[in-house]
């Protein structure tokens, strides 16, 4: 009775433990629910700009709109003119370079190379009017473009190659009366089209996000929280938080997941603990470029081929250009698995005028390593290619690409590299030897921060904790359980185990065979004894 009772108690305990281990309840994440409630309520503007008398007029120039804005928001231009959206550069301390300013003004990339001498075209994405050259007056408040960010009518559009002026079709009165908090389409009008087309540069920022599903981006999805960019990229005094290290250098003023989700967003602590060295993005963005393709490679050395003396374009099966006479050849990709690197929030860039230190040229260097405690693993898009450089001065050069007419030495019109580089470098205030070549550009890193997937699609444990082809296979300098092992210990241990098995089975086999032969011997004796009386 006592015994049965014990067995019953014991087996109940075992059953309870097993149930506990094997059963997984989908717990209710209160933190997430609180956030959902917080962001479900959208602010209603306290002013309808359509009712303001200052805006009831026929604006002849966009500058008149700016003046009208400043008639009420009398100090706001100061905030805007202190921002990198206006200045196209930020001052930061960079290791090895000192205090330096970097931004679209001087950083080179391996897409359309750089802005110098091409401002007429590039300034389409400058929040100002009339930046047609490097002589733009950054102190003139009348040239601040309020509308590109604050237009809520979806009507505003900056003209192509108009130095930042709006397209001539835009009804400025309508736009001025519609203004409000920036929407995805405002930010996206520039940030989705970097590099000359939708999703060319970022891979995780593109026009599809304006109206996408939760699967594409769990935050911006129209059937999800439908958040605007500014929900996370908050902007006190027009100083918008967020850094992208294709142009940014320091670890300040960043927009982070933690600002809403805290450092312990998971119900399981083992996942929270990962957060010390693994960024949220690394697991929650299993792939980018989920809707439209992004450029992975750009070879300028192929540019300039003409058909019947005229430039032409070729398209791949998805309708993406894979060759353009004016730009060279491209490789596009969709649903791309990110690469992963260690990153501590500081970066250096190839700045126009820098000497080439190594080939392939590293366009931007994202600092960090496992041994640096501030570093985390982040997902990145890596864009490679080749581009033009000065063989004598050993540096990348800035060609003049855009021109209004032929004979203006612009490459996109004349297809003469020599003239284009000479013009571009003159505008940039740098010498050009007259001898150019093409040099490979490795690695321009684009941290991937958007296109966060719903939690069910997050990268699974075994995608990194695996010996073969894990996502983190290329990262070194640390021990990753499941991926790494001490090879000598494993080798010795394996053979010790096998030898033990062999020894044990050998020992057993000898015992059995000896037993058998002994039994035979004993049987013979018994037989002999039994046989004896019969004799």
């Amino acid at each position: 009775m006592y015994r049965t009772l014990l067995i019953v108690i014991f087996s109940t305990v075992v059953a309870l433990i097993l149930v506990n281990i094997l059963h997984q309840e989908d717990n209710y994440n209160l933190k997430l629910e609180t956030l959902r409630h917080k962001y479900a309520l959208k602010a209603i503007p306290s002013v309808s700009h359509s009712k303001l008398p200052a805006l009831q007029r026929n604006f002849k120039t966009p500058q008149e709109v700016t003046e009208a804005c400043l008639s009420c928001h009398t100090e706001t231009h100061k905030e805007v003119m202190a921002s990198s959206h206006w200045n196209w550069e930020r001052v930061a301390y960079v290791e090895g370079r000192g205090i330096s300013s970097a931004g679209k003004k001087n950083v080179m990339n391996n897409f359309c190379l750089g802005t110098n001498s091409n401002q007429q075209s590039c300034a389409k994405c400058h929040i100002g009017y009339g930046m047609s050259s490097s002589h733009f007056d950054f102190n003139n408040a009348r040239n601040v473009d309020c509308m590109v960010c604050h237009d809520n009518s979806d009507e505003y559009l900056k003209g192509a190659s108009m130095a930042g002026y709006p397209d001539r079709t835009v009804n400025l009165e309508n736009v001025a009366q519609s203004v409000g908090s920036p929407r995805k389409s405002n930010c996206g009008s520039c940030h989705s089209f970097g590099g000359g087309g939708n999703n060319v540069k970022h891979g995780d920022l593109e026009v599809a996000l304006n109206s996408c599903s939760r699967e594409v981006d769990v935050h911006m999805g129209a059937n999800g929280m439908n958040l605007e960019c500014v929900a996370c990229h908050t902007a006190k005094n027009h100083n918008i938080i967020g850094r992208l290290y294709s142009v940014s250098s320091d670890n300040t003023n960043r927009a982070t997941c933690e600002q809403c989700h805290s450092t312990t967003p998971h119900l399981r602590d083992v996942l929270n603990r990962h957060g010390s060295r693994v960024s949220c993005q690394a697991c929650h963005i299993p792939q980018y470029a989920k809707v439209n393709s992004t450029k992975m490679s750009w070879k300028w050395s192929d540019a300039g081929k003409l058909k019947d003396g005229k430039p032409y374009e070729l398209e791949d099966s998805l309708g993406n250009h894979n060759y353009m006479s004016i730009k060279g050849s491209f490789v596009w990709a969709r649903n791309v698995k990110p690469d992963y690197i260690w990153f501590n929030g500081t970066a250096d860039h190839y700045i126009l005028g820098d000497s080439i230190k190594s080939v392939p040229v590293q366009m931007n260097t994202l600092n960090g390593s496992y041994s640096d405690r501030r570093s985390k693993i982040i997902p990145v898009k890596i864009h490679v290619g080749d581009q033009i450089y000065d063989k004598v001065y050993n540096r990348l050069v800035q060609p003049k690409l855009y021109g209004e007419t032929e004979g203006d030495s612009a490459y996109w019109k004349d297809f003469k590299w020599d003239d284009a580089v000479a013009a571009g470098m003159k505008e940039s205030g740098l010498r050009y030897s007259g001898k150019y070549g093409f040099v490979k550009t490795k690695k321009m890193y684009w941290p991937v921060n958007h296109m966060v997937s719903p939690k069910g699609e997050a990268v699974g444990c075994a995608e990194c904790h695996t010996r073969i082809n894990g996502r983190l296979a290329k990262l070194s300098g640390f021990y990753l359980p499941g991926r790494d092992q001490n090879k000598s210990l494993d080798f010795v241990g394996y053979w010790m185990f096998i030898l033990t098995l062999v020894a044990v089975f050998g020992h057993g086999a000898i015992r059995i065979s000896m037993d058998i032969s002994r039994n035979k011997y004993e049987k013979q004796i018994i037989n002999y004894d039994e046989d004896k009386p019969a004799e």
Binding site: F10, I17, N20, I21, S262, T263, T264, D269, V270, N272, R273, G275, S276, R277, R373, G460, C461, A462, H465, T466, R467, F478, Y479, P481, G482, R483, D484, Q485, N486, L489, D490, G493, M496, F497, T500, L501, V504, H507, G508, I510, R511, M514, D515, R518
Partner: protein, 219 residues
């Protein structure tokens, strides 16, 4: 044959419970642990790691009970190493066992472990298990939260913690193989296992008297 034998109670109830739970936990930990190590795939890494963590806490709990039991009952005395008859015991396993000789030492309530067992089990308890458990705890708590919810990471490289933990695991597996095999070297191939299940072992009569005397003295 039966007439010459006598049943003796050797393994106490807690001892048997501890032995079998520890055995199953160690085997389960080996299964999940070597999966985390990447040796094979059964549960999937995520589940394996989770199970391993849970089972490891259970084993630690069990071992705390076992240590308490050893100390309070004086059972720890069984593990005091001795060189007396150690050589004979080794020689027995190398040659005598094949010739059908008897064990050079006999199991009694006073001394239920032979000299070889004493040394091996003592090593198991004082070296092998501590190596594995201490490295395991360091592994388990490699990253922890402090009061401010900030994650603290140990200064030791995880590679060396993992080295000791894997070494312990491999040695435990070798121990397991030899240990299981050794259970077959009793009176009959299953008599030792039966003893660990029921607690009773059949001993020859002449030893029995000594045993009873000793038992009454010590308990």
């Amino acid at each position: 044959m039966q007439q010459n034998m006598h049943k003796v109670y050797i393994y106490k109830r807690f001892e048997r419970f501890w032995h079998w739970v520890q055995a199953s936990l160690i085997m389960f930990l080996a299964l999940t642990g070597f999966e985390v190590h990447g040796t094979f795939k059964i549960f999937g890494f995520e589940k394996a790691a989770e199970f391993h963590r849970t089972a490891s806490w259970m084993l630690i709990g069990l071992i705390i009970f076992a240590i308490f039991w050893h100390l309070t009952t004086g059972e720890w005395r069984h593990y005091i190493p001795t060189t007396k008859q150690l050589k004979e015991q080794v020689i027995y396993y190398i040659s005598g066992i094949f010739k059908g000789e008897h064990h050079p030492t006999e199991r009694t309530g006073l001394s239920k472990l032979n000299p070889l067992q004493r040394i091996v089990y003592l090593g198991f308890k004082l070296i092998l298990v501590p190596i594995t458990i201490i490295s395991g705890i360091l592994y388990l708590l490699y990253k922890t939260f402090d009061q401010n919810n900030i994650i603290i990471i140990e200064d030791y490289p995880l590679a060396s913690i993992a080295f000791w933990h894997t070494l312990g695991a491999i040695l435990l597996m070798i121990f397991l193989v030899v240990h299981v095999y050794m259970t077959t070297t009793g009176k009959t191939p299953t008599s030792n296992i039966k003893a660990m299940i029921t607690g009773y072992e059949e001993l020859e009569d002449d030893q029995e008297e000594v045993k009873v005397e000793n038992d009454s003295k010590h308990n």
